[in-house]
Symmetry: C2
Subunit: 342 residues, 2 copies
């Protein structure tokens, strides 16, 4: 069983940049030995997991794998990190890396890893044999659900994981389908569709739903990426949408977010929930018309009262079941999906 | 001045697979010395260019560069081609290659090229320093026109080239912006956006419009890729759309084509022109609302009478100026764009 050291240097407090760390902490906490972040205070913990300031301190918790827990825009390594990774290798740690830059491509790092007998796993490295979508996605023997969103970093992965967990608890043969580095770190399989050659996005997505069904899933929860209305990543979003060929969509939104975040050339206003529902259904192909069956709200910016009001407002606006599955439980949304599944 | 030998083995008669060859023949014919295709008959010509059956015959026409003129779905080399490319190198020809597989990555081919002092140019190889879109696309000092389509292989590149040519003839500071291997082979610059990492599609598109303006273009004709309704390539299409931030769109369609071609899992019906206009305008971002100002029809399947009828029907249906710029001239469509430019 893997024991992770999360390399979260300087980023462990940041919502966007700590995504992989937070995902692994939430969904694989039992596998996390410690978090390394020299900018945090001695004795800090993150949900009970020790936060340490140096690698030597970290080693006392006996990790066997260092996970690069930073997802930066564009995903490149800050130069100072290479030194830290070298030290991890010298301490005998395997490395799992979620960035666009691959450790295996760095001859020095690769040689050092070979010398120390440790493994470098580049989570974002696509399979070498990807190709264009074939149409096999239309024959997958499962109901396919895709989480789509009003922006990035609002909870599409989290919603897919929470709903998958609830469905499994109900005895459904349910599978989470990872499409990003964090999902891959959590689930142990998958393809980072944002890192594949553009022509192959749909082909990669297709391969994932085929594999999800092969792994026994009759209900597949495909982790969405980007947003149709985020101009930086919308291409990834649509390629994943058409390649995964979903029957059902769960629309995710962060209450209180009115503009696309972290995106130059704006402001880029976020459309209304109703417009987003219509847009997504409009883009589904005639061969696989997809319906939005539920709205998943991320209400972390709100207190409980306002959160419940936001959920009610979303239902009133869209006519669809809505909830915050992290805060209030995944039941209502899973009910909606199972009803939509028919 | 480059003298091309087009390597079109077995493909020179096929509309889809001869795209690069046909593009270079149409827009750079003066630079084409010969076409190599052993399946064609002795003495054949293609629009006056000699078609030869062997490399020895080809060398009599004194090419200096072999162009791989085949664009296959997924873009991989048939194994038999590597032998042909070796022979080209041994005859002292530089190679320009438009496929997803890069010659420079093949150690044998690269070594052979070095030995013979010839250059390998992989047209689809992205710049090494691509990143995500920054928003600079919104500040480009030019009017940006994007050709969008109802499918692949209907003429988006051709329309952009024809309209650019007409605009230049009228004294407009006009620039064609290449986004695919064929456009790059024709124009001598550009990025194949279908070959970049998915996260960077919009960033690559942004870089292209910035460069188009830097090259003096006040009116930029961005070559569209794929189609929003072709499930294999739609991700590339949307990333290019949002990354190039067009003000105006020219909707391209092939009269008589009712279904997406070459795409499994179908049939995938093509929506009406009116629905396509609405879909594209719907997907433009609030920060850069784009309007479809004209419809470009590819009427090659029709005789002249039916072609004119199709053009009239398209105008009646959409309320927009329509024409076949290849068959009837680019004037009407350029008028529409210049009127839309304001």
């Amino acid at each position: 069983m893997t024991r992770y050291l999360l390399l979260a240097e300087g980023f462990s407090a940041d919502a966007h940049y700590g995504k992989t760390m937070r995902g692994v902490l939430r969904y694989r906490r039992e596998d996390v030995a410690a978090i390394l972040d020299s900018t945090r205070a001695t004795g800090d913990t993150e949900d009970g997991v020790p936060v340490v300031q140096t690698l030597e301190q970290a080693m006392q918790h006996e990790p066997d794998t260092a996970l690069v827990g930073v997802a930066t825009q564009g995903g490149r390594f800050p130069p100072a990190w290479i030194e830290l990774l070298r030290q991890c290798i010298e301490h005998g740690l395997d490395i799992e890396n979620g960035l666009h830059v691959f450790l295996a491509d760095d001859p020095e790092v690769a040689a050092l890893a070979a010398e120390h007998g440790v493994e470098l796993r580049d989570l974002r490295k696509p399979p070498h044999d990807l190709s264009t979508a074939t149409g096999a996605n239309m024959s997958v023997p499962a109901t396919i659900v895709l989480t789509v969103g009003s922006d990035c970093a609002i909870g599409k992965m989290t919603v897919a994981l929470e709903l998958d967990r609830e469905a499994r608890a109900r005895g459904v043969r349910s599978q989470f389908v990872p499409t990003g580095q964090t999902g891959i770190a959590i689930a142990g399989w998958g393809i980072a569709v944002d890192a594949v050659v553009a022509d192959f996005i749909a082909g990669a997505a297709e391969r994932l739903v085929v594999e999800g069904a092969a792994r026994g899933g009759e209900l597949l929860w495909v982790e969405g990426q980007g947003s149709l209305v985020n101009p930086v990543y919308s291409g990834v979003t649509l390629g994943l949408f058409h390649g995964s060929a979903p029957h059902l969509l769960v629309l995710c939104h962060e209450s209180g977010r009115d503009e696309i975040e972290g995106c130059g050339g704006g402001p880029h206003p976020i459309p209304s929930l109703r417009d987003l529902v219509e847009l997504h259904e409009r883009l589904a192909l005639p061969a696989r018309p997809a319906k939005v069956v539920a709205v998943a709200l991320n209400t972390r910016r709100l207190d409980e009262h306002d959160a419940r009001a936001a959920v009610a407002a979303a239902e009133a606006e869209t006519g669809l079941p809505a909830d915050d599955p992290v805060r209030f439980g995944a039941g209502r949304l899973v009910d909606a999906v199972l009803a939509g599944k028919g």
